[in-house]
């Protein structure tokens, strides 16, 4: 599938427009935060966080003005197995009783090659805040059939769980996927 790149938008929108505010469409479930990590080094275990909310600003003419903030409820972890979810919420992993919130706030966004944007920001997880950086790309944007205007992004980030004080043996890495659709306010 041909991906519409940020560059396309830079060419298509030559007039200067202000960055618009978008609300992530979690109400309509057009957004997902997924994770996958290796089960005993043999296969991928895939799940997602069911509850999160967030906002972003986006101006195709000025990628540097992009901001994004997302609040995630770590207790809403869903790996399609209630007992495992309970285990993951417990003290050994996310310890949601002690650390009930997780969040990401961008601090710096720069346009990168191939229509990608490089997003830097603070990720708070398991009570630890760290500055992380990942690449994101625009999936599409335009009017929706119901009178609104939407923009969508995707991004992935490989997280080292030890950076956040959690042990996910054997690799201690979790691949996060961010699939975001925002409705313009």
């Amino acid at each position: 599938m041909k991906r519409i790149t940020l560059l396309t938008f830079l060419l298509a929108f030559t007039s200067a427009v202000c960055a618009d505010n978008y609300v992530i469409d979690t109400r309509g479930a057009h957004a997902a935060i997924t994770f996958k990590f290796k089960h005993i080094g043999i296969s991928w275990l895939v799940g997602h966080f069911k509850t999160f909310s967030g906002e972003f600003t986006f101006d195709p003419d000025n990628i540097g003005a992009t901001t994004i903030s997302v609040d995630i409820d770590p207790a809403s972890i869903d790996s399609n197995h209630a007992e495992r979810d309970k285990h993951m919420r417990g003290a050994k992993y996310f310890n949601v009783a002690k650390f009930p919130t997780a969040k990401f706030d961008s601090t710096k966004v720069t346009a990168a090659d191939d229509g990608m944007a490089s997003i830097e920001g603070d990720l708070t997880l398991h009570g630890v805040t760290k500055n992380i950086r990942f690449d994101a790309s625009v999936v599409g944007q335009g009017k929706d059939p119901w009178g609104g205007y939407r923009a969508g992004f995707e991004a992935t980030y490989t997280l080292d769980t030890q950076d956040f004080g959690m042990s996910f043996p054997p690799s201690n890495t979790v691949e996060l996927g961010l699939f975001i659709e925002g409705i313009r306010r």
Binding site: R27, K50, P145, W146
Partner: protein, 171 residues
């Protein structure tokens, strides 16, 4: 209520068949849910009134079975409407999302873990709504029968007009 409820049913039947790209695909259900919650509010007010105020006496000359069935049908409407609204609420909140009323306030989800909740609640919602509208139609026919055949004041009193021969309170 006599207009809103059949209206909501027709609206509901229409909206569930809309194409995904129809402009009303999102607004239709938003409006249906919002009006449904307003009906709940009206119903609670009405029930509160019903329980705390004396009932107007029925028309004289009614047979016992008519009086009993009139009372039963009224209570049936309360039960049916509460069940319809509750089942509708259980469809919308089955995944834990709240019901948003006219973008003004939210009603949180409570029960979310009934197996196949949205499908079972949808089944109940549909059949009870159809049943209620049919019962409502019979109720209206009975009122018309009172008006045109018995020539009594029942219909005028139902729609809030004062009786022609005596005060509507009848107490």
């Amino acid at each position: 209520m006599a207009l809103i409820i059949p209206g909501l049913m027709v609206f509901g039947l229409w909206m569930v068949d809309l194409d995904y790209y129809d402009p009303w695909y999102k607004q239709g259900p938003d409006l249906h849910r919002s009006i449904g919650m307003i009906v709940l509010l009206l119903l609670l007010i009405r029930l509160g009134w019903r329980l705390t105020n004396p009932r107007p006496a029925m028309e004289s000359g009614m047979a016992n079975w008519e009086k009993i069935s009139a009372t039963l049908v009224h209570w049936a409407f309360y039960i049916l409407l509460f069940t319809i609204i509750t089942s509708g609420y259980l469809i919308s909140t089955a995944d834990g999302r709240p019901v948003v009323v006219f973008e003004l306030f939210e009603i949180s989800a409570t029960l979310t873990s009934i197996p196949d909740q949205e499908d079972i609640a949808g089944f109940v919602h549909f059949y009870l709504a159809v049943g209620t509208v049919i019962l409502g139609g019979l109720h209206a026919l009975a009122a018309l029968k009172h008006h045109f055949i018995n020539k009594d004041e029942t219909l005028r009193r139902m729609i809030g007009l004062s009786g022609r021969q005596r005060d509507q309170s009848g107490v």
